[in-house]
Point group: C2
Chain length 316, copies 2
Amino acid sequence: MFREKIKVVDCTIRDGGLINNHKFDLKFVRAVYKGLAEAGVDYMEVGYKNSKSLFSPKEYGDWKFCDDDDIKNVIHGVESETKISVMVDVGRVDIDDIKPCKESPVDMIRVASYVKDIDKAIYLVNHFADKGYETTVNIMAISKALDNELNEALEQLEKESRAEVVYIVDSYGALYQESTEFLVKKAKSILKTKEVGMHAHNNQQLAFCNTIEAIIHDANYVDGTVFGLGRAAGNCPLELLIGFLKNPKYDIRPILDLISEEFIPLSKKLEWGYVIPYAIAGMLNEHPKAAMELRSGDKKENYRAFYESLKGTDLD
Amino acid sequence: MFREKIKVVDCTIRDGGLINNHKFDLKFVRAVYKGLAEAGVDYMEVGYKNSKSLFSPKEYGDWKFCDDDDIKNVIHGVESETKISVMVDVGRVDIDDIKPCKESPVDMIRVASYVKDIDKAIYLVNHFADKGYETTVNIMAISKALDNELNEALEQLEKESRAEVVYIVDSYGALYQESTEFLVKKAKSILKTKEVGMHAHNNQQLAFCNTIEAIIHDANYVDGTVFGLGRAAGNCPLELLIGFLKNPKYDIRPILDLISEEFIPLSKKLEWGYVIPYAIAGMLNEHPKAAMELRSGDKKENYRAFYESLKGTDLD
């Protein structure tokens, strides 16, 4: 009953790092890696490859930069089939920092791009493919993309890029399952030589739903995070995804242990998940930034005023 | 773009009462009623009509019994189009307690029934229809129903009952959207003279998803609760549902106020929502009872042992 081609990509540390400036300590990251390895998860994305000339290592944790040596410290001595992924943002990476794949602990590089930057993304992804990495292009903020521009981007990706996977990224947690169906079918129809992936945000409690919907329509790369950790409302909870997939190679129990032992304590210190201002941002198809600002101030439960201010931006 | 026939039924106080033995004070229930009325919600379900010979009013709050006078105290002086609903469980109601609709503040009675009790449910629902009420039959634990028995129950409901609506109730929070589609299509194909309703539980964060899915396949009665309040994982969050429906008669803002002012404080005292043992019960298609027991004890974060014990029940 399971589809063997489906690959699960955990991005707990990468997307979760957007809440705490990537300041997870080595012990925590190793615990996550061990748990994912035992659970049979296909990939673990540990963070971003950002240029240190753009961001200061004094301000950010290691997982903003993902030096090969730091990754080696995570995986050292752990028996594992789980591959390592890192993310690269268009315009923020120094490509000379990326060694050939053979010399690196990284297996996959995912290039995050808005539709408008797709030419730059194609340049980067082809460069990383040349260096021997598995590659993806992740199209961010897809709920705001104009249909003709998205079509053109997908056609370019099909013709010009060596990316093996193209992701639909619901950055704003704004998609309902009908829109997910529409986008995945569109992507599948254009990307004849590539796989389609789904990265969902959970603003409206639809991240798992949209991930299932993408699977139904033949997306084979799906992202999750342990206990849904991730920026603002977070992501598709990995434990739900593993519970849904029927491939016997996955074991949910190590992920349950991770939640008991690491993520319940973490949830007392960091906020993510179903929080009304994030839900409002999702239903209004807006970036979570304003909601995150609200939550860090002293009017964080003033939902009506926030709703009206965010809705008002429609009228500007 | 909206479907006018869709009716939203709020069951915050009714389903939420299953967490606290129905002990909501009048002030709180009135606040919810006022908020729902301002938001334009079609129905508010305030509780159960249970026989006082079966349950002691000393042990339970008012909303276990829903005396007409208590309901009158809730709605008194509030300008409102919101109708009042109560729920009745097969075998727990004394039908002599139910006055004719004209003499009662109640507009709708919903009869909750397992498939096996459908004959009793039909008797009750016809009795309440005779007394002038709007009526529904809510088929509980539908994820455990055998297909042939469910078909027969739906055929009987179509032929023998005067219920205007038949609900699919995902008591265990076990349905994925494909199963919801299957069940709603089946119900619509058999219930040619009735509306179909959806009552979802949120164990796997799919209550909103399954409610949308039911709407897509022509269910016109949909249940929600403020901030998802309800037994164990709770229900479809009303605020998300109102955000999704495009009928301009609904206003989300009074519901946002209710959450800020009443439900955030309540969430510090009562537990409901995305809690791992409830998610496990959902994915294993089991009643949340064992998970609720776990959560009330001192091993409440011991997820692996709970998973193994609940999974073990398959083998008994």
